[in-house]
């Protein structure tokens, strides 16, 4: 079977050309064959998926309509799923089975989506390559010796390889957009507060946001329709009336003002990436928008501010993993103190420990003002700088990543790995929505992505621009050549 979008699959299901059960079996079969190579899934929940598909078929038979009814989905393994292991790709939670569903999982369940399984990621979402998973190394379907990006590498690879028509991920500093860019899919990080975080295992509470990976922009709008919305279980969820994001999507962008911050195109940017952004500006103009260079001089400070804030929050969020209530506990410890230290030392990987240490340091007595508070003040400035620019522009256009996907093991030292997040972290710092849209392949056949950024809660405008670019540039979904057993 050819790869279909969510929208196309919906037509097939509602036109009774295909049952949800048949569809689910096709995907389960693909996973069985292909994922041995891609390694995007940590857990495949075949039995549950089949049951869910049968239930969806009943609902379809009863005449129920719904864009996600019977549509298979993959879920990043840091989103809690009742009765299905949720590991965060960590030894620490390798056996953790939540007794409850995250709000997004409930919503997808109500919409009739069929969960195929849980997807690989960097341990506790800390990383940019999915190499930090305790379990496996997910491959980039476009080039198997390259990383899929991270931390939602499993979600990106799974959608890219056609193992699910869409997937959910989470984005704390670029963890959706960067892997989407590396794997050539659409990847949306919504405004902070638009999608409930309830049930998302926290990395950095003030930055985390759940979003989606899809094959095209239209699907992205469909999925957002189903996951966005106020949730009384999340105090930071916005009381925002969610529109239908597919409405007016195709209206065009005539007259839209698009800013291109020059700092995002400075040193360290791969020429083909810079070229893609310049080309995108041309496409936008062709579609009737007005593009202009602008300036975000604080951009370079976003990265250190991000690492301080996210690590500080993480050091506290990950303190609950102490071997007492759930997850891994080191054996043969004679007293509590030893149990704590041994459990945490053996249960966490190196990168997680590094961030916990950094975050604890930034919050500790005598350093709080110099690091944590300073970073929160810089955050205020960065947010203001974006707000000022959005007085003049509807959308900002930047690269998603400075380079296309790198090879396994290529980035060994932490700071060089962190530098790869330079284009994405400021958006989380300011709580803005942003999307990666595929922008063709580089000379080595690796996907390039552009990032569009909008003011808070302007996802409609953001998706409209992304759609216009997608249509005008004509890249569409970047189909990996790799196709084993399909």
């Amino acid at each position: 079977m050819k790869d279909f979008t969510v929208r196309e699959l919906g037509r097939l299901l509602h036109g009774r050309e295909l049952s949800a059960l048949e569809l689910t079996k096709i995907y389960l079969d693909r996973i069985a064959k292909t994922d041995a190579v891609i390694e995007s899934f940590i857990t495949v929940c075949e039995e549950q998926a089949i049951k869910a598909a049968q239930a969806a078929d009943k609902r379809i038979a009863s005449g129920e309509k719904g864009a996600l009814l019977g549509i298979p989905v993959g879920i990043k393994d840091n989103i809690c799923t009742s009765g299905v292991k949720t590991t965060c790709a960590s030894k620490m939670l390798s056996n953790f089975v939540p007794p409850y569903d995250a709000t997004v999982i409930k919503k997808l369940g109500q919409a009739g989506a069929v969960m195929l399984g849980k997807l690989n990621m960097d341990e506790f979402a800390m990383g940019s390559s999915t190499e930090k998973s305790y379990f496996k190394k997910t491959k980039n379907p476009h080039l198997l010796n390259c990383v899929p990006g991270g931390s939602s590498g499993g979600s990106a690879a799974c959608v890219s390889a056609g193992l699910a028509p869409f997937a959910l991920g989470s984005d704390t500093g670029g963890s959706i957009r960067q892997p989407a860019s590396f794997c050539g899919t659409v990847g949306l990080k919504p405004t902070y507060g638009l999608v409930s975080r309830y049930g998302l295992v926290a990395f950095a509470s003030s930055l985390d946001q759940i979003g989606c990976f899809t094959r095209d922009v239209y699907d992205c709008a469909i999925v957002l329709n189903h996951i966005a919305g106020h949730d009384a279980m999340d105090s930071t969820s916005a009381p925002f009336i969610v529109p239908d994001y597919t409405n007016g999507l195709t209206d065009g962008i005539s007259g839209k003002r698009i800013g291109i911050p020059k700092q995002y195109l400075e040193s360290g940017i791969q020429p083909e990436v810079r070229e893609a952004v310049n080309k995108a500006a041309e496409y936008f103009e062709k579609a009737g928008a007005v593009c202009e260079e602008c300036s975000l001089p604080l951009t370079k400070y976003a990265l250190p501010a991000y690492y301080l804030i996210s690590s500080a929050e993480a050091s506290s969020n990950l303190a609950r993993f102490d071997g007492v209530k759930y997850g891994f506990r080191a054996e043969n410890c004679s007293n509590l103190s030893e149990m704590y230290e041994t459990t945490r030392s053996l249960g966490f990987g190196e990168e997680v420990k590094r961030r916990i240490m950094l975050g604890t340091y930034a919050l500790s007595s005598g350093y709080y003002d110099a690091y944590y508070k300073k970073a929160q003040q810089v955050r205020t400035l960065i947010q203001r700088e974006f707000a000022d620019n959005f007085k003049r522009f509807d959308i900002l256009l930047t690269p998603t990543t400075p380079t296309t996907a790198f090879e396994f093991g290529e980035k060994a030292d932490p700071v060089s790995m962190y530098m790869g997040d330079i284009c994405t972290v400021a958006i989380n710092i300011a709580g803005l929505p942003a999307i990666n849209v595929p922008a063709g392949l580089d000379s080595r056949g690796k996907p390039v992505g552009i990032q569009l950024i909008a003011p808070p809660f302007c996802e409609q405008s953001l998706l409209k621009c992304a759609y216009a670019y997608e249509q005008t540039a004509g890249f569409g979904f970047l189909q990996p050549e790799f196709k084993e057993g399909i």
Binding site: T236, Y301, V324, M339, Y340, S345, Y361, L381, Y418, I429
Partner: protein, 95 residues
């Protein structure tokens, strides 16, 4: 900025992490380079700028004081590494 062995030991103790000699050495180097990187922020004058903890600016989000049934104890304890008598079990504390 230099990170000292004592600082790393202190932070590891606060974080309840045990680092061997090698890990400790590596951590000193990594933290030093990350902190040096973070020190860039000092280029910015932030004097009276209000820190932002939350980008949304929401306030007064409450629930009403209504109680609802709790979870079954067996469900809550299902993930416990060790349990007994309806309780989580931990090794003894040394006071």
């Amino acid at each position: 900025m230099r990170i000292t062995t004592e600082q790393v030991r202190y932070v590891a103790a606060l974080s309840k992490l045990k680092l061997n000699e090698k890990e400790q050495q590596r951590m000193i180097e990594d933290m030093a380079s990350i902190i040096a990187f973070a020190d860039q922020l000092n280029e910015l004058e932030t004097g009276e700028i209000k820190p932002t903890a939350q980008t949304l600016g929401l306030f007064n989000v409450f629930r009403e004081d209504e109680s609802a049934p709790s979870y079954e104890r067996e469900v809550m304890l299902a993930n416990a590494p060790e349990k007994d008598d309806g309780c989580y079990l931990v090794p003894k504390l040394i006071e």
